[in-house]
Symmetry: C2
Subunit: 331 residues, 2 copies
């Protein structure tokens, strides 16, 4: 069923299991004690950053599948993508598992897009069990989007730090964390061209999707224990709260941003974390563990993504952004 | 409903309308008289190849929407992706239309993946109307994946030519071309490392998906008027026919490959066309027009994609490939 841009899942697919793998820097923070695998060395025994990223994603997938009591044959669909060109981490992970595979891309909102696609497939009876996964690696992202690490480029104060980590959740009919609904995002572009200021670029997309969700579901911010956005960072979160306030929605008391909370001392990482792995690890460790324990009953998860490329920015384009939202509730 | 890796659409979503835009070289061939927009200049009035690619995709989307009698407000979902890093053609097209947008990526099999996602959304009641679209541009693909055009690099005889073109179909409850089922592909990798020989790399993926589809749907090749693969080219098509024959399936009399048939004189383009735009333009002009006219009643469309990147190949990886199939039937 659909109202506005929100899909209502009548059969209430559930998050059956979840897993997160996080890097050495990430495991020092709030998620360290919740993650399933914490790396001492971010190369993860591989010879390149990209292969390390792929291995993290594969580990998150296999761990989530095993934690749910599933075998690889049980998985009818893997919906996954990542930040690397041609989503090679996801494609090469899919090669390893031989799951039926739908590649998705929405930059750092890939976690909520893949959950949305997985929930749609399970709810509609198109898959019994779907895995939704994404990840990112600081070093592969820096190399691809910015500068070689060896250059030691100075980071401006509005910059965020791409998270080294991966997360996966398995969606099926089993479990107590229901997926009630999902709101498909529209692309928002407010003309921000500063590629170091993703928080400012993405905040309007998060605002648009959250308000659409509240309207379509006839809920208010206070109906949720927590409203989780993905990787706006500290500055972007403040912008989002302001934008929401201007539109008559007060999210100040129950909003957290994955990018803002992931690192121990945010000053060191400037505005906090970013990357597809950011919301993936926070959701698939800290948030879902708290839901499973009954500490959060109702969660709205809206990961955010900046849909730029080095070519689009080089050609003078501003940064189009998107946010997809998924509503989760403990039965 | 699901059997094996195949989704059966109980509510039979339909291809309501479709449109194709093709480049100057492409319109000389078989699709020229079927395409909606044929370009005299492949820059399409834009200043860069990438912007021209995005404009083609946007034109295909707006034309398909208009041909179906829809307004932009009617479109509940755009499922789209392309070959450019971070699928900027799709994202920037989605910015223009402000449709709810799911970015997908499966290289040159994006047309069938986006149709599959769109059909799933319409069949399940998650969208009334979904647009599925993709495209590619020879010059932007050469620049990104291979060499600058100015270098005048020699092409080996097993190479294909990336199609300049874009296609879109609109899926809703209206129309006479039903989407019966879709088979989600698994990643196949037979160890091919020659990035100029995509046909050989992708043929096993097409073979795997076609056989899976025949088994799941309890059909045989002869049950289809035509079995359309996407961009295997002349060599890849011959390999596919051989592989199918070895497995006991004879597709020799009713198989066509979009890459093999798109250009007028295949020798000039070596093995024929490739790129996400290849199957997109052939399906959304030649094939669907013939279905609408009743000349083909039942069509199996399996676009094929090579999920490599310049980085994965540079790091010595072989080429993982995928093929998603969609079964169409005229009522």
């Amino acid at each position: 069923m659909r109202s506005g841009n929100t899909i209502f899942f009548n059969n209430k697919p559930r998050v059956t299991s979840f897993a997160a793998v996080c890097g050495s820097k990430e495991c020092e923070g709030i998620i360290g004690s919740y993650a399933d695998i914490t790396l001492k060395d971010d190369m993860y025994g591989e010879s390149t950053y990209e292969k390390a990223e792929c291995k993290m994603l594969s580990s998150a997938i296999s761990t989530a599948v095993a934690k749910g009591g599933f075998t690889e044959e049980d998985i009818d669909l893997l919906a996954s993508g990542d930040l690397l060109n041609q989503i090679i981490s996801a494609s090469f992970s899919a090669r390893q598992f031989r799951f039926p595979f739908l590649g998705v891309y929405s930059a750092c909102s890939t976690m909520s897009e893949s959950m949305l696609v997985g929930a749609m497939a399970v709810d509609g009876g198109y898959a019994r069990t779907a895995a939704a996964a994404t990840g990112s690696h600081f070093a592969s992202a820096e190399r691809q989007y910015r500068y070689p690490l060896e250059l030691g480029t100075t980071r401006p104060p509005q910059a965020q730090w791409t998270v080294t980590g991966a997360g996966c959740c398995v969606i099926s009919a089993k479990g107590k964390i229901k997926i009630n609904s999902a709101t498909i995002g529209k692309v928002c572009d407010w003309g921000v061209t500063d590629v170091n200021n993703m928080g400012a670029a993405m905040a309007p997309a998060a605002c648009s999707t959250l308000i659409q969700h509240f309207k379509d579901t006839k809920t208010l911010p206070c109906d949720y224990d927590i409203i989780v956005t993905g990787d706006l960072g500290a500055l972007g979160s403040r912008i989002l709260k302001d934008l929401m306030w201007e539109k008559g929605y007060d999210i100040s008391s129950n909003h957290v941003d994955c990018g803002e909370i992931i690192y121990k001392v945010i000053e060191d990482e400037f505005q906090g974390g970013s990357g597809a792995g950011c919301s993936a690890v926070v959701m698939n460790s800290y948030i879902l563990t708290k839901m499973q324990a009954g500490l959060y009953k109702k969660v709205l998860f809206a990961a955010t993504g900046a849909l730029l490329s080095t070519v689009s920015s080089g050609q003078g384009e501003s940064i189009p952004c998107i946010s997809h939202a998924v509503e989760l509730e403990v039965e």
